[in-house]
Symmetry: C2
Subunit: 262 residues, 2 copies
Amino acid sequence: MQRYFVAADQFTETQVRLTGEDAHHAARVMRMKPGDKFIVSDGAARTAIAEVKDASATLVEADIVEQLSMDSEPLWSVTIAQSLPKGDKMELVIQKGTEIGAYAFAPFQSERMIVQYDGKKEAKRLERWSKIAKEAAEQSHRNRVPVIEQVQSWRELMQGIKNYDLVLFCYEREGDAAHGKGIRTAVQEWILPSERSGKQTSPANIMLIVGPEGGFTDREAAEAETTGAVLVGLGKRILRTETAGIVGLTCLLYESGEMGGA
Amino acid sequence: MQRYFVAADQFTETQVRLTGEDAHHAARVMRMKPGDKFIVSDGAARTAIAEVKDASATLVEADIVEQLSMDSEPLWSVTIAQSLPKGDKMELVIQKGTEIGAYAFAPFQSERMIVQYDGKKEAKRLERWSKIAKEAAEQSHRNRVPVIEQVQSWRELMQGIKNYDLVLFCYEREGDAAHGKGIRTAVQEWILPSERSGKQTSPANIMLIVGPEGGFTDREAAEAETTGAVLVGLGKRILRTETAGIVGLTCLLYESGEMGGA
């Protein structure tokens, strides 16, 4: 069944209105008619099945016919902090990360970043990234749309580390594949002894920090570690920047009992 | 250091020759000169450091200066069997799957496949996919290039199941997210009791079967199960077809003690 995320004020106890691109999508692309059903969510607490009363390309009105309580959100809220990559790689990180279950995305600047950071293009880019997150959340049956944070400086990223329960810093020194802990070790050292085997039961805010194409400098790694991050490696093979976040997120959620890891 | 995979006959005990696109890449893109070094591999048993003697855009001659024994290949050989997806999604599966550590890719046809299978375009497509696998293997420091198998019919795929130690069939029935075992359960039921905790030590041939955009039919799932595959789910969220193989492969290798899961 098609899913739409709508603003809370379009979604009362008994009715929902789709407007803008969502109305166009429902009426024109999906060709919905009175009696057809879709799933609607406010992206936070409420998800329901709605039945179309009236559909046009600018407004779809529907009645709520069933409240849904299914929660598809992971117990662990994982933010992928990604040093701004080249081209459209950030879009891949956001689309795939949203499907897998990321809580938020935090783009940031770092020393070896290849792209020129351009503040003017920022608003437009954030808008496009938010749209990709919304579409991926609808497609993957998420209950909420991941937040895309404003691009941070390295300093702001470091200052934010204290706000998380656990911060993993992906770091691979050239020719030293075994450098850094594995994700499993980092997690086992951090969680409560009583939860060390099997499915996790405590929520947690975790940040996974991924470097740019050229990697982090030793200075950056040292500063992150001093500030409270745990340096981790993702194995023997070298992952592209846009792959590291997707793989790290998958391993973390698998470790918590999601993704078939229960 | 730049990596190149070459045919075994270009790579003797003491010398290596780069030709074609590799020579062009080394001489023109990387601007290698006599004395510069690169890593060369025959994609199977041998990897070494070579030092350039002479470089032109059509031929680079180099001396072997050091044999390397570093093995970056996973213990478990995982083949991603992917029902042919639309557009260029297969390229993403091959590029990311190669970085993560897939052993081979086996495209196949299934009932709800959206693309029209076109035998004529086949040779050209396989050539492009092989090139993507080679480039991703070089970039991620693999010791071998994953094999891209010929496109198989559903019947051929089913007949091949008996050649693997374990076959996982990704299956999610609409509205039944908990259907199927998790990967961890499927693996635990299959491996030796002595290896049930921690890092795996026995090699294994595993196939991970992923459906098309429209999913598998109940009939296909039932036939796969009867033939010996284990039906598995990848969690509560619905993954796109091109994401399922990447995520399933990551979880499997993590479970075997790779990807930071040791």
